[in-house]
């Protein structure tokens, strides 16, 4: 026990001695969660429109007003010829164009019907998809109200049957991106800090030759490992507290679930990241190697395949199968469930179990490999 304690003291001394290390461990996660929390948003609003209104009637103006009043669109420019929209879309001044033909209002009024062309910049597929959705809903709503008025006038007050939808949004009623992304950012930062420090910390001793010195001391391999890992567990938990504080206080993300449960499950997640870090350190000779390996073989798959930004259900079946071995996937489900839905262990136990199994497996595998190499 004493040996472990001394190892931990040595690690903390080392962290303190590197003047830039402490700010990175403490400040970087806070700065990151603030930056990323604000940045990681897919809200689509204030879409810049270029409008070519060849009709300039009451109806066409009403339509444009409906666009801007919805809050989703702002008019970036009016052009007097349809051809002119090109330059606005090419230069990304506008990402959507509305082309109102001549006689738009007249054809509506006489019940003949008219056409409306909407052009979206598809380069950003997601934004284009959502913008077109909004634009179609707005136009269809306008079209519907015109139709109902005309029918009421001609059918002598007899109303046609109508279907109305009442939409309710649960868990995140304002559809705030931050509510979804910030818990994910918390998980991501936790992963990056703990994995890199463990992998690089151990390889560093190999690289600068101090591993030999440690080996000739009476410390046992498991004490060495524990002494190396525990400081990062402590740092990991400090970071969890800091980052959660920012998430709740600055972003006002409601933490509906149980806090002790969150810490317990974060502990399970750290188990897996430390195990992965240790594993990387057993297969690397230099810190550069260790960090590149961690980055490409751990961070990238975790970020891309965990559902952090890209929904898992859209991936091909084979890739979906791979996501089951991504620990971040489970922790994301846990942390989002706890934050937004306020669910408890009765809903989250499968994810917790998966983390436990993964953590214990990877950690014991790495410890075995590590001991063999030391021996």
């Amino acid at each position: 026990m004493k040996a472990i304690r001394e190892m931990i003291v040595k690690e903390f001394l080392q962290i303190r001695r590197d003047k830039r290390m402490l700010p990175i461990v403490i400040l970087a996660p806070i700065v990151q969660v603030i930056l990323l929390g604000y940045a990681a948003t897919v809200d689509v609003k204030e879409i810049p429109l270029v409008v070519s209104d060849m009709d300039n009637s009451r109806e066409s103006r009403e339509l444009i007003a409906r666009f801007t009043n919805s809050g989703y669109f702002v008019v970036a420019a009016y052009v007097d010829r349809p051809k002119k929209i090109d330059e606005y879309l090419d230069g990304s001044v506008a990402t959507m164009a509305v082309l109102i033909p001549e006689n738009f209002g007249k054809n509506i009024g006489t019940g003949r019907g008219t056409q409306l062309q909407l052009i979206a910049d598809g380069a950003d597929a997601n934004t284009a998809n959502i913008s077109l959705g909004y634009a179609s809903q707005i136009t269809a709503g306008y079209s519907q109200s015109i139709l109902l008025n005309q029918l009421l006038k001609t059918s002598g007050g007899l109303a046609p049957p109508q279907l109305k939808v009442e939409t309710r949004v649960w868990f995140n009623p304002d559809l705030r991106s931050a509510n979804y992304m910030v818990p994910g950012v918390v998980a991501m930062i936790l992963m990056i800090i703990t994995t890199t420090f463990t992998s690089a910390g151990i390889v560093r001793e190999k690289e600068i030759g101090t591993m030999e010195q440690l080996l000739v001391t009476p410390i046992k391999p498991h004490q060495l490992i524990l002494g190396k890992l525990l400081p990062f567990v402590i740092i990991g938990f400090i970071d969890v507290i800091l980052v959660l504080g920012v998430a709740v206080n600055l972003f006002g993300i409601p933490l509906k679930g149980s806090i002790p449960l969150l810490f317990g499950l974060a502990g399970l997640f750290i188990l897996t990241t430390l195990g992965l870090g240790l594993f990387v350190s057993t297969i690397s000779h230099t810190q550069q190697q260790a960090m590149m390996t961690a980055q490409f073989f751990i961070f990238f798959p975790m970020i891309f395949l965990s559902g952090f930004t890209f929904p898992i259900e859209n991936m091909p079946k084979i890739i979906q199968a791979i996501t089951y071995i991504i620990p971040l996937r489970y922790f994301l489900e846990i942390i989002r469930g706890l934050f937004l839905k306020g669910v408890g262990i009765e809903t989250l136990w499968p994810q917790a179990l998966a983390l436990l199994v993964f953590g214990v497996t990877i950690l014991s595998l790495s410890v075995l490999r590590f001991q063999k190499r030391l021996g």
Binding site: T114, K164, V165, T167, F171, T286, E313, N314
Partner: protein, 374 residues
């Protein structure tokens, strides 16, 4: 100028480390394939739970009209409100449709019928798209009942405004077309910023920097010599992405290829400058790595417009996003690859990139020179 030996030494060191070389060259390809095949924002196959209190032929027909699209997948038939709670809580369903008891009666007697839709809003993007699909589905069904009602009265249905949506630049709305150009920025950042900063700091940490200092090399020769191999590797990865992007995902370069390479080169120089700057500040590889990841990788992933539209960010962050080169690079790359427009459309971004490169390289060489001549 005598930079040959340092370049050779650096290449030899990179070659000795087979894994690092493999990572630098082949992982970009793996990432590309991943981004191209696996990742997209398409919202399809939304898991739908239905609680049909009405349970008549009309209500079942209505539900069927929803299920018969690729957007929804009929996942759960709930028998009570409580069951709906459960399936939304544990994520079995993304959205729930509640059909009230008087649904068919209201429709048949010409009154207004109301259905309720409950969306799991936790993923706001999915929810926003889903609500659009729901609205479209409801509209289709309304149109159908309206047509039937009018037909009974012997009148045709004329839709006042017929919407003709059209997409430019990326007609099939492929996420790959948007993400592949964005991948350039991300990968080049890693190859340049992280690799250069680590490779310089490594010499400091291992004490071999002293050996370089005592050699007859001038300090600028050491800096340039260390940077050149990473420029070469960066250009190789960029070419690989271009070729694979065209072969696998049909992302063809609409604009001028020399112009694209020129932009890549300037961006790479900026990345090298940033890496050198970090290495002049950091004394250990761990610190260098963290500063690199937090100042280049994460911003070029999150603040560059690669995935998240910059327009949606708060104003402060839109200002902050100007501090990194990836944002401007991305505008250029997307313009050249997807839109095929010429330099006139993005000369401002070019100027900015050049300034960024000049500034970072200038400051870092002064700092490193001071350190090396000490």
């Amino acid at each position: 100028m005598n930079i040959g030996p340092v370049v050779r030494k650096e290449f030899r060191q990179i070659r000795r480390d087979k894994r690092a070389l493999g990572i630098l060259i082949f992982i970009p390809a793996v990432l590309l394939i991943l981004v191209g095949y696996a990742l997209n924002f398409d919202v399809k196959h939304l898991r739908l739970a239905v609680y049909d209190e009405d349970n008549t032929r009309t209500s079942r027909e209505f539900v069927n009209s929803f299920v018969h699209s690729e957007y929804f997948e009929y996942k759960y038939h709930a028998l009570s409100k409580r069951e709906l709670d459960e399936v939304l809580n544990d994520g079995t369903a993304h959205l729930a449709l509640v059909i009230p008891r008087d649904f068919s009666q209201n429709l048949l007697s010409g009154r207004q019928a109301t259905v309720q839709v409950i969306l799991d809003g936790s993923n706001n993007n999915t929810a926003a798209v889903a609500s659009g699909y729901v609205a479209a589905g409801i509209q289709d069904y309304s149109r159908k009942i309206l047509t039937e009602w009018l037909e009974k009265r012997g009148r045709p249905l004329v839709i006042p405004i017929d919407i003709r949506p059209k997409l430019w630049y990326n007609p099939e709305l492929k996420t790959a077309k948007y993400l592949v150009p964005g991948l350039f920025g991300l990968i080049l950042m890693i190859v340049t910023v992280i690799s250069t900063s680590l490779s310089v700091v490594r010499e400091k940490e291992l004490g071999t920097m002293e050996q370089l200092k005592t050699s007859p090399l001038k300090s600028y020769e050491i800096i340039i010599g260390k940077a050149i191999p990473y420029v070469v590797i960066a250009l190789i990865s960029a070419s690989l992405i271009m070729v694979l992007g065209a072969l696998l995902f049909d992302v063809r370069i609409q604009g001028s290829i020399p112009l694209l390479y020129f932009a890549i080169l300037i961006f790479v120089l900026g990345g090298l400058g940033q890496g050198l700057l970090i290495s002049s500040i950091a004394n250990s590889q761990q610190v260098a790595f963290f500063v690199s990841v937090f100042s280049s990788l994460l911003p070029s992933f999150l603040l560059s417009g690669f995935i998240f539209p910059i327009k949606s960010m708060p104003l402060v962050l839109q200002v902050v996003s100007n501090l990194q080169a990836a944002k401007f690079f991305l505008v250029i790359v997307r313009s050249i690859i997807l839109k095929g427009v010429g330099v006139g459309a993005f000369w401002e971004q070019f100027v900015y990139l050049s300034l960024f490169a000049a500034l970072t390289i200038g400051v870092s060489s002064v700092r490193l020179q001071r350190e090396l001549s000490r």
